[in-house]
Amino acid sequence: MGNYLLRRLIVAVPSLLGISLILFVLLALAPGDPFGELASNPNIPPEVREALRVKFGMDDPILVRYLHWLVAMVHGDWGFSFASRVNVDTLILQRIPTTLYVVGTAQLLALAVALPIGVLAATRPYSIFDQIANTFAFIGFSLPTFFTGLLLILIFSVNLGWLPFVYRTDIHATGWLWYWENIKQAIMPVTVLGLYQAASYTRYIRSAVLDVIKLDYVTTARAKGLDESKVIVKHVVRNALIPVVTLVALQMPTVFGGAIVTEQIFRVPGIGSLLISAILANDTPVIMAVTFVFACLVVLFNLIADILYGWLDPRISFR
């Protein structure tokens, strides 16, 4: 196990280097750079622009710039956001709590909805309950979040006026009221994202449970004289959830990486909207840092998923 972990971590290093190189080259080849707007600004003389470009090494060969970036990154210097005029790491750390709160809650909601519905639907396949659950799951993942998001804003913010449609981090309230405001403004993004995720989880859990429920060892459990609810929980669900755990673990990077579309709709100041605004402003250091952090998380959670899998399923050994 220790060896396995060490080997996986060592293998992760070249893949992360590869990912970062590709990201860097792509960004460098893309048209525009952080100083693009300076060129059209008449207040800045060309010499100053040129001096800045030289200072930041903008015209060095790509590989040299990549090596500079890599050395700085390893030393903990994530770069400087030209658009926001702060260090990138400060910027990311500012945004992460909001994303964790909103997207994390949405994931919890998705699981809380999908688990019971998926299991119940699979234990009564083709029943009325199953058909209703399937229909809603189908509708759920057919409707994109930008549609349901706007629909909810229209109903609950514009027409009814119950919920705010702009997410704010500077709430001027104290004590319970502060918590209440925070919950209120998270309701819509969490619902939109959570139900969208729940729809696909439900389908997945249903089919995983259906695969297991007809196996002989489930019949064995019934033949032992175990009552049905225990058969389902102990013998069916525990085995069916092994692949689901992997699926959920691989969704975890999005909890940190944010939901780009949903965050944009509700103006949630999370990582997703940071990435979008950085792209629009040609703020390459931020784009690079966010996408690279995202890549690290994907690699990390892949590893966690594999370890969980081995822990849950004794048939898998770490070699």
């Binding site: 060892y217 019949t219 064995t220 459990a221 033949a223 032992k224 004794p314």
Partner: protein
Amino acid sequence: MSALAATDATAPQPLLSVRDLTKAFPIRGGLLKREIGSVRAVDGVNFEIGPSETFGLVGESGCGKSTTGRCVLRLIEPSSGELRFEGKDVMSLSGDRLRALRRDIQIIFQDPYASLNPRMTVGAIIGEALTIHGLATSRPQYEARIVHLLETVGLQADHMTRYPHEFSGGQRQRIGIARALAVEPKLIICDEPVSALDVSIQAQVINLLEDLQQRFGIAYLFVAHDLSVVEHISRRVAVMYLGRIVETAASRQLYSTPKHPYTEALLSAVPIPDPSVKRKRIRLKGEVPSPINPPSGCHFHSRCPLAKDICSTEVPKLKESAPGHLVACHFR
């Protein structure tokens, strides 16, 4: 225990009696998923099993023998019929009383790879039944029972902490047997218990089952398609064809003087391990008809060499043609 093993099969009260057992699986189709037909997997089956007797049930794939076995435990809910275990009506049981029945009747499955929960240790698999039925009051007693059961089926105490995937097919089937034995059942349904095993392992498992019967006086309902295995282990044998029993007799009698034309054909297909022996093979025409739409009258008439007009109109009753030898044929 040994006194029980000596009880005769013809004791007044049978351990299990099955009367007119029927199981029909509905077929749904069309826009509204209405029932448009049914598969009569088990179609009016009658038999009795005495204490510590082995009753063999043979037939081709799909003839309803496994369904019959599962209906007895009500793992599959029978459509109609009467099931009595030690005189008690099994069909009317529900909830806790039905689960209590599963202390007395156990089942061993065909596929030892699928019938053990891969996430539970062998100890937990065997021990679960002990816990359900309150057969162990303390942790040391619980563990001692599991060790004893493992040793009874020829496994070792230290196998307790291992997982099923670490064992071979034969060992897994032993685990399945230990699990069934845990609750000290009076009847074990053996649903093709050796069909998935190598021939050498088959013999070991069969010998183990016979040994356990001697020691604990357990009765078996032995479902199989391998005629020689059934002949070896069973005291009485029933032959099934398309959901019905066509012949029942003492094992030796059935194999030496089969009466039903289907049994004759089936037995003539058993290979004899001697190439110099010549014998007449009875070859049946065609395939087994679909149980969705079985032939009228005697189900076998469409392939029977003896068939006459009466066979397609009248269902032959299972009647005694010699002492203890029942056959469902108009002409035998």
